[in-house]
């Protein structure tokens, strides 16, 4: 058996088409709260699109032209929606216990995507090339320097921040979100907690023997 056949068989077995592209959802998916993850992905797509246009136009363009201002604002508000919907998605999945029934990696990739999104947004803030960016960078440099990271992560270095923002962090976020989506499609939406499950209560402490220490 050659490696292409082996790979094809493994992929077909692990990622069946009806799971990767399902046309039906479980009956318990009845609330709009299940849309929050997809809203996050849509905002991320808009972030990529507006970000590519911004970097093609360049710094002067996004500061001076009205079209540049539009895409600058689109990028900013996409980021606001991205974080807002991602946090609400996190709340929803936390209360659903979305890590259950073999979904640990779904949870882990989601949490990692959230954590990596924070420096991705931060490097964007300090790459704006305006007074806001200067204020943020000058305030943040002390924190990074005191943590001993200033030598490798210099927030006053625009080239480094912009490079990290448009290449490194988007790549990591894309990989994590891609892995997260793949996990969601492989495992499906988590079942609700069974209604007859007894509540978890603390066990009573055993009685101490008389006179014992």
């Amino acid at each position: 058996m050659n490696w292409t056949l082996r790979t094809r068989r493994t992929l077909t077995k692990r990622f069946p088409a009806d799971q990767l592209l399902p046309d039906r959802l479980p009956a318990y998916v009845r609330s709009s709260v299940y849309l929050l993850g997809m809203i996050t992905v849509a905002a991320l797509a808009l972030l990529f699109l507006s970000g590519i246009i911004l970097i093609l136009g360049g710094i002067q363009w996004w500061h001076t032209s009205s079209t540049g201002h539009f895409f600058n604002s689109l990028h900013f508000w996409s980021m606001q929606i991205f974080f807002l919907s991602m946090v609400l998605h996190l709340w929803a999945q936390f209360f659903m216990g979305a890590w259950r029934d073999g979904r640990a990696w779904t949870w882990v990739t989601g949490v990692l995507a959230f954590l990596v999104s924070i420096p991705a947004a931060f490097t964007g803030y300090v790459s704006q090339t305006n007074f806001d960016a200067q204020w943020i960078a000058l305030s943040a440099k002390d924190a990074f320097n005191s943590a001993g990271l200033g030598g490798v992560f210099n927030v006053l270095n625009l080239g480094q921040m912009l490079g990290l923002h448009i290449l490194f962090f988007p790549l990591i976020v894309s990989l994590l979100v891609g892995g997260h989506l793949l996990q969601v499609r492989m495992r499906g939406v988590v079942h609700p907690y069974p209604p007859d499950e007894p509540p978890v209560v603390a066990r009573p402490r055993p009685e101490r023997a008389e006179g014992g220490q």
């Binding site: 088409a17 399902p22 046309d23 609330s31 709009s32 849309l35 946090v87 609400l88 929803a92």
Partner: protein, 63 residues
């Protein structure tokens, strides 16, 4: 004319040891509100009749 002046000094909500700017408090309150609305609103398409299986689908799709 602007709806909100963003150039002035920020105002904070102060309760015992907790200090939060009004801007952040309002954003968090709005997030909680959006979350509650999302919980109550139905998923789009809920109640719509389920279409029959795709005859070309060999896997007997559907979850």
């Amino acid at each position: 004319m602007v709806m909100v002046h963003l150039g002035g000094a920020q105002r904070s909500l102060h309760w015992h040891v907790f200090i939060i700017t009004w801007a952040n408090a309002i954003v968090i309150a709005l997030m909680v509100l959006v979350f509650l609305i999302a919980l109550v609103l139905p998923y789009p398409g809920t109640g719509r009749p389920v279409p029959p299986d795709d005859p070309g689908d060999e896997s007997g799709a559907g979850q």
